[in-house]
């Protein structure tokens, strides 16, 4: 069978992995830790890439990898249960099998970010594909400038990785700001959309590279805000999403303008998609 890259097996066949842990992040979101049944296979990926996860007899879904790229014996996926297939996935128990194809797609531009301030802007479950990037930056701290994490969620109980957010804030030269759309009863933090956090962040536009992931509307407004603040368009990266079936550029479903999100994305440099973001029903 044809190899796509040296580190993957046939990209068209699911590899058997086993669920080792299911961690509840929020009432409807779970992080699955998968390990390959054949322990010899290393599970390597670039932050920002995704896999196609297959539940026997149910179906296959594209899910971003949300774990630490330095740990090559496992793959973590943060999944929100929104329909039949995701429901089946999050209800896998420890020891159950999940088929994994991939990794696929383009990753966050870690090379371009070297020596510069890294601005991570996440909305909702968009923090999941950014987490591997954060791990990478913190693991190689001296290779990067300041790290600013701006995260917006729906409400306090919908926030992902709360303990880690607090831990990340304690790193040197690292600022973490979190906000929610709906504060609820006991929330003492910011209330408002994630774009309102910019004014509290100590951002130096000329030195910064921004990586954004979240609902498309949120990404459009965040990008606009970053441009207003003075970031160059070339220093802004977004992770896009469309319907995906094959993940290898053959089924045609994930096309976004001329781009195949499975091959040319999901991470795009802003100028690549700038004129597409405004188009309705593209």
């Amino acid at each position: 069978m044809i190899m796509a890259t040296a580190i993957t097996t046939d990209p068209m066949l699911p590899q058997p992995y086993s669920v080792r842990e299911v961690a509840k992040e929020t009432p409807d979101t779970f992080t699955l830790r998968l390990e390959p049944e054949n322990a010899v296979n290393k599970s390597m990926f670039q932050p920002g890439q995704f896999s196609m996860l297959w539940v026997f007899g149910v179906g296959e879904l594209p899910i971003s990898i949300s774990g630490d790229p330095a740990l090559q014996d496992r793959l973590l996926y943060t999944v929100r249960s929104v329909g039949q297939a995701t429901h089946a996935l999050v209800n896998r128990g420890v020891g159950d099998g999940v088929g994994v194809r991939g990794p696929f797609g383009t990753g966050w531009p870690l090379e371009a970010a070297r020596g510069r301030d890294v601005i991570v802007v996440a909305g909702g479950i968009g923090l999941a594909p950014l987490r591997p990037l954060i791990y990478q930056v913190l693991r190689n701290r001296k290779d990067y400038g300041r790290l600013v994490i701006l995260y917006g969620g729906r409400s306090p109980r919908d926030l992902l990785y709360r303990k880690e957010l607090a831990a990340w804030a304690r790193h040197r030269e690292t600022q973490v700001l979190v906000t929610v759309d709906y504060g609820g009863l006991n929330w003492r933090g910011h209330v408002g959309v994630v774009t309102t956090l910019f004014k509290y962040s100590r951002l130096q536009p000329a030195r910064s590279v921004a990586m954004i992931c979240g609902p498309e509307i949120m990404m459009r407004f965040v990008t606009r805000e970053l441009e207003t603040l003075g970031l160059s368009r070339d220093d802004i990266y977004l992770s896009m999403e469309r319907n995906m079936k094959c993940a290898v550029g053959f089924c045609g479903h994930c096309q976004y303008g001329p781009h195949f999100i499975c091959k040319d994305g999901p991470v795009f440099r802003y100028p690549q998609i700038r004129n597409l973001l405004e188009k309705y029903e593209l």
Partner: protein, 152 residues
């Protein structure tokens, strides 16, 4: 330790306004502290003051029967709190509570609006600045309304 003068003079809101006028504002300004949980302004009260937040977080709230107040948004360092002093009936429409310990500069809104009535050029400049604040808040509120992270 920043002085009141410097904070006000350097704040974007006051940039470009007549020096004599800025000095007047400074002379009527005072440093205030609000302990976490205390109210800075309350719905229904007369609005004659506005605030520039120096430290801490302010929650804009609405009281509702049978439940704790609902926070619609928070403001923090560098932001201006309150514009109801500028437009009749000069009454606060929401509560603003210190979500943590807050330090803020209180500015004389009544004085400023009187001066705006006398000097329409000044009035236009002040309204422009508030229009900008309202535009930002409205845009942010609209995005908040979209409930973008909800499952459809």
């Amino acid at each position: 330790m920043e002085t009141l003068e410097r904070i006000i003079a350097e704040h974007p809101f006051f940039a470009g306004l007549d020096d004599s006028f800025v000095n007047l504002m400074v002379s009527c300004a005072s440093n205030l502290r609000f302990k976490a949980g205390s109210y800075i302004l309350r719905e229904g009260d007369t609005a004659n003051t506005f605030y520039l937040v120096r430290e801490g977080k302010v929650a804009i709230e609405i009281r509702a029967p049978q439940r704790k107040p609902i926070i619609v948004s928070t403001l923090s360092v560098g932001e201006i709190l309150g514009w109801s002093w500028l437009l009749s009936p000069f009454e606060w429409k929401f509560d603003a509570r210190a979500a943590d310990d807050v330090r803020a500069i209180a500015l004389d809104g009544k004085c400023l609006r009187t001066k705006c009535e006398e000097n329409h050029d000044l009035g236009y400049e002040v309204l422009k600045r508030f229009a900008r604040i309202m535009e930002e808040r409205l845009e942010a509120t609209r995005l908040q309304l979209l409930d973008l992270y909800a499952v459809k």
